[in-house]
């Protein structure tokens, strides 16, 4: 690691001031991505601003027709929360398959969403449920928030405070994890919402995306057979030493069908 100054933020406002005053500062919450990145010398922040324990980023609650999760809430807490299990069981199931137990004990939803790793799980739920990302400054719809590989609508000094998930009628998430890293080779979140069916795909492309053809087909019939003739365009997917783009396209279809089968059982 290169040297940096560690600063524990006293409040959200303090964290914002530190980010505004130091162009090369980085936020630290659980650190499950940032610390490995620092160790690999892939980042060289002047300041690491710790927001991991800020009370302003804590809490899980149902507010009207939404489940609101504080950005500092750890994966373990989403996975085991009775409130989440009751409101959106698919979200607690998703949180329970992120990384491994030690990662889930530290990593936070805000960190995962802000990082927007193309193979992370949470972006699929945020986009699949049509959630709203609430920062200290504004509210950003999921459809506008994710902007491709590691890119989001966040300004450099903007901090995610909570994520508000509209409670769907039914939803499910299925992923094919890479056997070593646990990251999604393809993960598909399917949700039947008040505004219609949404299908979000992570792991397969350069960033999370909606599979619109599947949404239209499932809107007519929430049945795995409805996806039978559909395929995502392999040309737009990732190819690396883990898998070809054609293999990933196949995985997306298989994971989508499994998610639909899971939904049908709910």
């Amino acid at each position: 690691m290169y040297t940096f100054s560690y600063v524990k933020a006293k409040s959200l406002q303090h964290a914002g001031e530190l980010l505004a005053a130091n162009e090369e500062a980085k936020l630290l919450a659980g650190g499950m991505t940032l610390i490995p990145t620092l160790k690999a010398r892939l980042a060289r922040p002047t300041h690491v601003v710790d927001v991991g324990d800020l009370p302003e980023l804590a809490g899980i609650e149902v507010k009207g027709d939404k489940l609101v999760v504080g950005a500092g809430v750890r994966h373990r807490d989403v996975a085991t929360s009775d409130v989440v299990r009751k409101a959106i069981p698919a979200l607690s199931e998703l949180a329970n398959v992120i990384g491994d137990p030690q990662v889930r004990n530290r990593g936070t939803i805000g960190g995962s969403v802000a990082n927007n790793d193309p193979a992370a799980d949470y972006p699929a739920a945020v986009l699949g449920l049509g959630a709203t990302v609430m920062t200290g400054k504004r509210e950003i719809a999921a459809d506008d928030f994710f902007q491709g590989m590691f890119a989001t609508a966040l300004a450099a000094d903007e901090i995610i405070v909570r994520v508000a998930f509209p409670i769907p009628k039914r939803a499910a998430y299925c992923k094919f994890p890479h056997p070593a890293s646990g990251y999604a080779m393809a993960g598909v979140f399917v949700a039947e919402t008040a505004q219609g069916v949404r299908v979000a795909v992570t792991g397969a492309g350069p960033g999370v995306f909606r599979w619109r053809e599947a949404e239209a087909a499932l809107g007519k019939s929430m049945n795995a057979a409805a996806l039978e003739k559909l395929a995502v365009d392999a040309g737009s997917l990732n190819e690396d030493f883990h898998a070809t783009r054609e293999y990933r396209a196949n995985l997306v279809a298989v994971m989508a069908k499994r998610a639909v089968a899971k939904i049908a059982g709910k």
């Binding site: 690691m1 290169y2 040297t3 940096f4 100054s5 560690y6 524990k8 630290l28 650190g31 499950m32 610390i35 490995p36 620092l38 160790k39 690999a40 690491v48 710790d50 991991g52 373990r76 085991t80 990384g99 491994d100 137990p101 030690q102 990662v103 004990n105 530290r106 070593a180 890293s181 646990g182």
Partner: protein, 158 residues
């Protein structure tokens, strides 16, 4: 520099460290607690697992400064009064190791798993130990050791 005050295995400790210092380095180099191993140093293998405020964490992926004020338990804190912890006893009985390098982290991860789920099924054990790699055993005897630990702990989990 960061001042780090932590309780390790029940003893209060205080160290001045560089801001970039990792928790595992404070434990090993600062306090001489070399039972916590560094395997991969990239958050994959789980050899460095310790408990921080009751939860299993990979100490190679926690800054010492983040642990300020925390209660840490390492493998050295498991045996009490010369008596092996039931999980250590179970790993011995079931031969849940060969070279032993992963064992301290494995035991701390098992302790975390059993706290949450005192009687895990095989599937739950696989899922619960996903963050720990063993290159010798093929995990068969580790899974046996987890089940034996659950018996020895009598459903209490810890």
């Amino acid at each position: 520099m960061a001042k780090v005050e932590i309780t390790v295995n029940g003893v209060k400790q205080s160290r001045e460290v560089e801001d970039r210092t990792l928790l595992v380095d404070v434990l090993r180099d600062g306090l001489g607690l070399t039972g916590t191993h560094i395997g991969c140093d990239t958050s994959q293998c789980g050899c460095c697992t310790v408990h921080m405020n009751g939860l299993a964490v990979k100490s190679c992926t926690v800054l010492a400064a983040q642990a300020n004020g925390a209660d840490i338990v390492t493998i050295e804190g498991m045996a009490k009064n010369g008596q092996l912890h039931p999980i250590q006893q179970a790993f011995t009985e079931c031969h849940g190791l060969q070279c032993g390098f992963c064992t301290p982290g494995m035991i701390m991860a098992v302790a975390g798993l059993l706290k949450d789920n005192p009687h895990p099924t095989d599937e739950e054990i696989y899922h619960g130990l996903e963050g720990n790699l063993c290159r010798c055993t093929g995990y068969i005897n580790i899974v046996k050791a987890v089940k034996r630990s659950a018996e020895l702990l009598g459903g209490k989990g810890h």
